[in-house]
Amino acid sequence: MKTSEGTIDKMKRIPRDHKVRRFHQAKWDEPVIFELSQPGERGVEVPPVEPQIVETVGDCLSQLPDSLRRKKRPNLPEISQYRVIRHYSRISQEVLGSDFNVEIGQGTCTMKYSPKINERFVRSPKMAELHPLQDESTVQGMLEMTYQLDLYLREISGMDKFSFQPGSGTQALFTQASIVRKYHESRGEGEQRNEFITTHFSHPSQAATAAVKGFKIIYVPADENGYPDLEALKELVSERTAAFAVANPEDTGIYNSRIKEFTDVVHAAGGLCCYDQANANGLLGITRALEAGFDMCFFNLHKTFSVPHACGGPATGAIGVTAELAPFLPGPIVDFDGERYFYKRDLKNSIGKVRSFYGVPPAVLRSYAWVRALGADGLKEVAEIACLNNNYLYHKILQIRGASAPYIQGRRLEQVRYSWQQLKEDTGVTTYDVQRRMVDFAHHYWTSHHPYVVPEPFTLEPTESYSMAELDEYIAALTHISQEAYENPEIVKTAPHNSTGHRVLESVLDDPDQWCITWRAYLKKTAQE
C-alpha cells in the first residue's frame, strides 16, 4: 500500500549530520484522573469473603459506632483497568527518566545506570513478600546480604559499622546530627556544644536537619580557590562546637587536599567530624573517610550504589561510624556470629530510630548486587572513569562561549558547578533559560542547590555510565544553545518548544486563595458562578 505521493529516483543515504538531537517529547494531553470516571466501571475486584465467614460474623460494619462509620463513599473515580493503565502509561511517557536522557545534568545526584537485573531481584516475591518481623531464621538471605554490604562499605570508607536505616541522604544527615547530639549528651556536654559548622556548598538538608536537632548553624566561607577557609574554621571552633560537616569534594569537584587539617582542628576543639559522601562516586577505592579524620560518613545507595531514584525515593543513606560511635547508631543492626545472621538490639547509646523497621531493604539488595557485579577493581574503575568523564566534560565546557567554572583551575573529581555569568552579561540569557532550552534537545539540566554561591549556576556530574559520544552530545547541545544565545536569544528565552509541557504560570502557586493542591480544591476554587 502506498502511503504518500512523494517519490524519489534512487535510494540514497539519509543525511544525519545535525549536531543536536531533533527531539520532541511525548504529549498526550491526558485529563486529570478524576475526569476519567464513569460510574459503574471498576479497575479490579476485591477478594470475595466466604459465605461461612459472613454467616458467622455478619456485616461487621454495624459494630462500628455511628460516629466512626463512613457516611459517604470516598469520591474516588470509577475507571476500568485498561483505562487506568493507559492513563498512567501515557503520563509516564511525559517523564524524562534517566533511562531516556543523558542524565548528566542533575549534578550531585549521581544519575548512573541502575542495572535491570537488580530490578528483577527486588521485584521477586523473595524480597517483596517479606515481613519485617518474620523470625530471623526465615530471612537469612536478606540478613546475609545486609551484613556483607556493611563489610563492603567498611572497606570503601574505613569506618567500623554501618546502619542502613536512614531512608535518604536527608535522613542520613538527620541521623548524623542526632548522633552528634547524643554523643555530646553522653559526655555531659549536650547543652554546651550547640554549634554545627558546615559550608554554603553543603546540601540544604545538612543545615536544615541539624537545625531540627536544635543546633545553631555556622558557615565556614569558601576561600578564593573554592576550598572551605581553614583559617576561618580555626576562628569558628570553640568549646561550643558540636560538629563540622562537609563534603569533599564539594559540588565544585575540587578536592580539598588539606582536609585532615580541618578534621584535626575540629577534633582539637572537641567536635565530631561528619563526612557527606553523597559525592563518593569519584572516590571508591581511591581515598576514604577514615584517613581524612572523619568520625562518620554516609553513602547514598540511590546515587553511588546504583539504586534508581524512583521520582524521589524510596532510597537509603547508609551511615557508617567509627567503633567509638557504633553504640549510638539507630537500631537494630545486623550482626553475624559465624553461623547465623541476627539483629543486635543492645546499642547502649542508640539515638533510637529514624525509620520504621530496617530502612529500605530493596535498596540494600540492589547495592549488594551492584557491588558484586563490579568487584574491588570494578569499583575503582567506576571512580576513575567517573572522574575521567568529568574532566573531559570540564575541559570541553570551558571552551563554550559564556561558560566558566569558578575557583581554582585544575583538576576536578566527580562533578563541577559551572557558571553562565558571562553568557548572562553578554546576552541576557540566564541559567534558567538554558535549562528550559536543554529539554528541546532531550536533555535534563539542573542549576544548583541554594544559595547560588556560583552565579547563574549549572552542575554537571557525568558518572561512569555514559559514553564519550553521549557526553559529546550533551556538550554539543550546550554549545548550540550558547550560540543561539549570542545570535538569537529569543529562542532560548521562550523555551521550551519541544517538551510535553510549557512554562507554568506559577504566581497562583504562591497565593493561598488560588493554589490548588488537590483536584477537589481545584474544583472548589475554580467553580463557575
Binding site: E103, A208, G313, S465
Partner: protein, 461 residues
C-alpha cells in the same frame, strides 16, 4: 585477544581506546593524574577486600541462591502486621511502578517531568478524597516520620512545646517521634483503658496544659481497637488550645469515618496498605493531610504539588506550591527538611485508589473486618485463649495466651514449624499485658488460612 580490551558493561568509557582518547584530549598522561590533588597519605594503598566481579548470569545465580534462603509470607501463612501489612496488590500497581520512566526519574522540571508532577498531584488528590481534606503532601519517609512532622507543625502553629501521645502506638514509632521532636519538644504518654485499649480520657484531661501543642492518637490504634472517642479527644485538645493530630490506616477509610470529620486538624498515616508490597519494611511511606488553611499549609516541610495554567491555553500545568517554605529554598530557615523520600510509593498509592474506586475501598474495608472478626472469634473459642480488648477492631487484634500457660514465643515457634507466622509478640514492649500477641488479618487471608491457624493452635495448646 585479551579480554581486558573490553569495557565493563556498566562503564562504557573503560574501553581502553576510549580512555586513551579522552586522556589525550584533556592532556593527562594517565588516570592517576586526575587524582594528583589527593595527598599520598590519604590515598588508599591496599586493594579493597571485596570479592571479584560477577558476570550478570553469575550474579543472578548467586543472588537467587541467597534469596532462596528467605521464606516469604506467600510461602507460609502470615498473621504479622504491626506497621507493615499484607494486602492484595493489584497487578496494575506493579506495572506502573516498574515503568522505567518513573523508576529512573528524579528531579526534572514541570515541563519535562510533567507526568511525575501529574501522577503525584493525582495521588495527593485521591488520598484527599479518602481523608476528606483538601491538602495532602508528596509522601514522607513513613508514618512515623509523617507523625513527627505533623507534631512539629502543630508546635510551630501553637508556639507550644508539649506533645501528648497515646501510649497505644507502635513502640518503634515512638522512638522515631522522640528522635524527631527532641530536644525542643517534650513527649508525654497518655494511658489507654485496660478493658478496651482506647485512650484514657481522664489521663488526657489531667495531662493537658496551657503548653500542650498537640494531642496525637491513632485510629485504629496500634493494638487494634478502634478509638471510639475521637470527637471527645479532639474537643478536649481544642478546648486546651492544642491541635488534634490523628494517625490512620488509609485502607480502613472505605468503611471508617475520616478523622477530619471527628475533629482532626492534621491526619497522617502510612501508604503501604495502598498497593505497595511489604518489601521487608521497605514499602512504608507516610502522608500528611490538612484542610486548605494557609496557617497549616505554610508549615509543611514537604513538596506540595499544585495544578496551574501554562502559557498554552487549555494545557494543564503542575508545580510546587509555596516552594519558599522548604529547606530546598531556605536551608535551615525553611520548615524542617525535605529531600528524597518515597515518591514512587505515592504514585503507586494513587494507582491503587484509582483502580479500586469508591466501591472497591468499601468492599475491601468490610471484607477485612469480616475476616478479622471471624479469626478473632475462632481463636477466642479455643480454651484458654482470649481476645484481650472488648472493643471493635479493624484488621488487627490482641490475643491473650496467658491462661494457656504457654509463652507467645513458644507458640510462635511451634506455629513456624507448621508454616505459620504467628502474630507479633507483644511481651517485650507491653509486659503488663501478659502473654499477648498482635494478630493481623486482611483481605489476603482466606477462610482456609484462618481455619488452618485455628487448627494448628488447637494442636499446639
Amino acid at each position: 585477544m585479551s579480554v581486558q580490551r573490553y569495557a565493563h558493561p556498566y562503564i562504557p568509557n573503560s574501553a581502553p581506546e576510549v580512555k586513551e582518547k579522552m586522556l589525550a584530549e584533556i592532556g593527562f598522561a594517565s588516570i592517576e593524574d586526575i587524582f594528583a590533588d589527593i595527598p599520598g597519605e590519604l590515598r588508599l594503598k591496599e586493594k579493597m577486600n571485596i570479592p571479584k566481579a560477577l558476570t550478570e548470569y553469575e550474579l543472578e545465580r548467586h543472588v537467587n541462591k541467597l534469596m532462596n534462603k528467605n521464606q516469604t509470607t506467600k510461602e507460609n501463612i502470615s498473621f504479622l502486621g504491626a506497621g507493615c501489612w499484607p494486602h492484595f496488590v493489584p497487578a496494575v500497581c506493579g506495572e506502573i511502578n516498574s515503568r522505567a520512566e518513573f523508576v529512573t526519574a528524579y528531579a526534572g522540571e514541570p515541563y519535562e517531568d510533567k507526568g511525575r508532577f501529574q501522577a503525584l498531584f493525582e495521588y495527593q488528590s485521591l488520598v484527599a478524597e479518602l481523608v476528606d481534606m483538601d491538602v495532602v503532601n508528596v509522601p514522607t519517609f513513613d508514618w512515623a516520620q509523617a507523625a513527627s512532622t505533623a507534631l512539629r507543625m502543630a508546635a510551630r502553629i501553637t508556639k507550644r512545646t508539649e506533645l501528648l501521645i497515646s501510649k497505644n502506638i507502635h513502640p518503634d514509632k515512638l522512638l522515631i517521634i522522640k528522635n524527631y521532636t527532641s530536644p525542643d519538644l517534650t513527649v508525654t504518654l497518655i494511658d489507654f483503658e485496660n478493658e478496651t485499649g482506647t485512650l484514657d480520657l481522664n489521663d488526657l484531661k489531667a495531662k493537658l496544659t496551657v503548653n500542650t501543642a498537640a494531642v496525637y492518637f491513632e485510629n485504629p490504634t496500634f493494638l487494634g481497637s478502634v478509638e471510639v472517642n475521637g470527637q471527645m479527644i479532639a474537643d478536649l485538645a481544642h478546648g486546651a488550645g492544642a491541635i488534634c493530630v490523628v494517625g490512620v490506616d488509609p485502607i480502613s477509610l472505605g468503611v471508617m469515618e475520616s478523622p477530619a470529620n471527628y475533629g482532626a486538624d492534621i491526619v497522617c498515616g502510612d501508604l503501604q496498605p495502598l498497593g505497595v508490597h511489604m518489601h521487608y519494611g521497605g514499602g512504608q511511606s507516610g502522608f500528611i493531610a490538612t484542610h486548605d488553611d494557609p496557617t497549616f499549609v505554610m508549615e509543611y516541610p514537604s513538596r506540595l504539588f499544585g495544578i496551574a495554567p501554562t502559557e498554552v491555553e487549555g494545557e494543564y500545568g503542575f508545580g510546587d506550591v509555596a516552594y519558599d517554605r522548604t529547606s530546598f529554598a531556605k536551608r535551615e530557615k525553611g520548615k524542617e527538611s525535605v529531600g528524597t523520600q518515597t515518591a514512587l510509593w505515592g504514585i503507586t498509592a494513587g494507582v491503587y485508589l484509582a483502580t479500586m474506586g469508591p466501591v472497591g475501598m468499601e468492599e475491601v474495608g468490610q471484607g477485612i473486618m469480616q475476616r478479622s472478626q471471624y479469626a478473632a472469634k475462632q481463636l477466642a473459642a479455643i480454651p484458654g485463649v482470649e481476645a484481650k480488648f472488648a472493643a471493635p477492631f479493624f484488621k488487627e487484634f490482641v490475643i491473650d495466651f496467658t491462661q494457656t500457660g504457654k509463652t507467645v514465643k513458644d507458640i510462635n515457634a511451634a506455629l513456624l514449624a507448621k508454616g505459620i507466622f504467628g502474630g507479633v509478640d507483644l511481651t517485650e514492649h507491653y509486659p503488663e499485658l501478659g502473654q499477648c500477641a498482635l494478630y493481623c488479618v486482611t483481605e489476603v487471608h482466606t477462610q482456609e488460612d484462618i481455619d488452618t491457624l485455628v487448627a494448628a493452635m488447637k494442636s499446639i495448646l
